[in-house]
Symmetry: C2
Subunit: 238 residues, 2 copies
DNA sequence: ATTATCTATAGATCTATAGATAATGC
DNA sequence: ATTATCTATAGATCTATAGATAATGC
């Protein structure tokens, strides 16, 4: 009965096809275009058209095109980064390869579930070259450091070339990105696929085959306990 | 004595700093910009400025920006594709994992030696979305097919998710691209690094650890015999 | 005559701002 | 009054073409 017939604000020329907040509609449309055509090749006009609003109306929700991408980038890493602390706590008394396996699993899951496969945005050259995304690069560096830190403990001494933890972290992040690449090719990222990717991370670090399966088992037992540490919503009952 | 003082054609406002053919100068400048900023974010004016010519002068050498990228893309895969036939011949009587290892080694070498790290261009979204690069995508698909064909023979039956040879090929190409990613991070791609990456390909296919080292040995013995089949220059003495 | 540049510019964008308008909320 | 859109447009690009110019080659 008390249902609003319309929203505040001037009505759109093309009525919205969804009830999602307009800001989310913009993010969704932009994500699809950025992922398929690339950031620089996508015009604000195209985004607006996809949403069903006028180009200028975007600027009511965002200060510019950069801010749209910045928000999408942030969302593509935030879920994993917020779980890193918890992962390290949970695996403090486990083998180092279990810690790496768990981090990889969580990250693969994030990339597999991210709307519109926005995990692919991180490697677009626009992102790595413009200062507008410094905040994201800093967040991502945090994740690369975690990969490097954890993997260095697990890595075989034979891994001289990637001995620098930072390089090792970058390599592993690239490996895990195969998740987004498979998603683009239409491969469903189920538990088996995730295990193959995570195992590949361990093997790429030189972990002997005999230690991979135990790490997989231990990590699987812990994954349900990886709750985000930051950005947790306050309890409903407060 | 017979050295020309100048070249035909109107002199440049800024004299060339190299004797390389102008077309190559353009490709080199464009490659650097495309790789760092991305194709769409790079203007023809920037390319021209880097070369030291006027923006319009680019169009004497290329029909447009697309043609510059198309040529760079072609060069980034051609060396490997031209060796695929020879690789399959050489390994016809070897184990399937030796064939895969050799293909990976050759590809890693191509990516490691490609000027300006142009191997990174293939995954830019501009490339995958515009029809202007259909020829390249077709060449690249040929390579993906080879990866898929060879890897399917080497893969363990446990690899159900990537059972489709095409998907398996895509996955392996993504893995090998870590070469360009490491290059960007400043890691030198020496023989040891190449072996780590190639071994990771085998392990990602589920090849047991005990069969990796023998494959690496066999492949190393064959790599010097991988001469391109297509595009070979005619003998000097003809 | 041929080659390789130059100058000038048309036409098509594209981003972002200014200010009007049409809803609801109070 | 507030919200969320709209219309209109300034100013800054950016790509590609037309045609002039300054070298060498024959």
């Amino acid at each position: 009965m008390s249902t609003r017939r319309t929203q505040p604000g001037r009505p759109r020329l093309v009525p919205a096809s969804t009830t999602a907040p307009p800001r989310e509609q913009v993010l969704h449309a932009a994500a699809q275009l950025f992922v398929t055509k690339g950031f620089s090749a996508t015009s604000t006009r195209e985004i607006a058209e996809k949403v069903g609003i006028r180009q200028a109306s975007l600027y009511y929700h965002f200060t510019g095109k950069d801010e749209i991408l910045a928000e999408l980038l942030e969302r593509s890493v935030r879920p994993t980064v917020d779980r890193v602390e918890q992962i390290e706590k949970l695996t403090a008394s486990e083998s180092p390869e279990t810690a790496l396996y768990l981090l990889a699993l969580v990250d693969i899951h994030t990339l597999a579930e991210a709307p519109d496969n926005i995990g692919t945005l991180a490697t677009q050259p626009d992102v790595t070259s413009s200062e507008a995304f410094d905040a994201f690069r800093s967040t991502r560096a945090e994740l690369a450091d975690a990969y490097g830190r954890i993997a260095t403990r697990a890595a075989a001494p034979s891994l001289a070339p990637a001995a620098d933890p930072r390089h090792l972290g970058e390599m592993l992040m690239h490996l895990v990105e195969v998740t987004t690449s498979l998603r683009s090719s239409g491969v469903p990222i189920d538990d088996t696929t995730a295990d193959i990717i995570a195992s590949t991370c361990l093997r790429a670090c030189g972990v002997p085959g005999s230690r991979v399966a135990p790490a997989a088992l231990s990590a699987a037992a812990l994954i349900d306990q990886t709750r985000p540490v930051r950005a947790q919503r306050p309890d409903r009952g407060n």
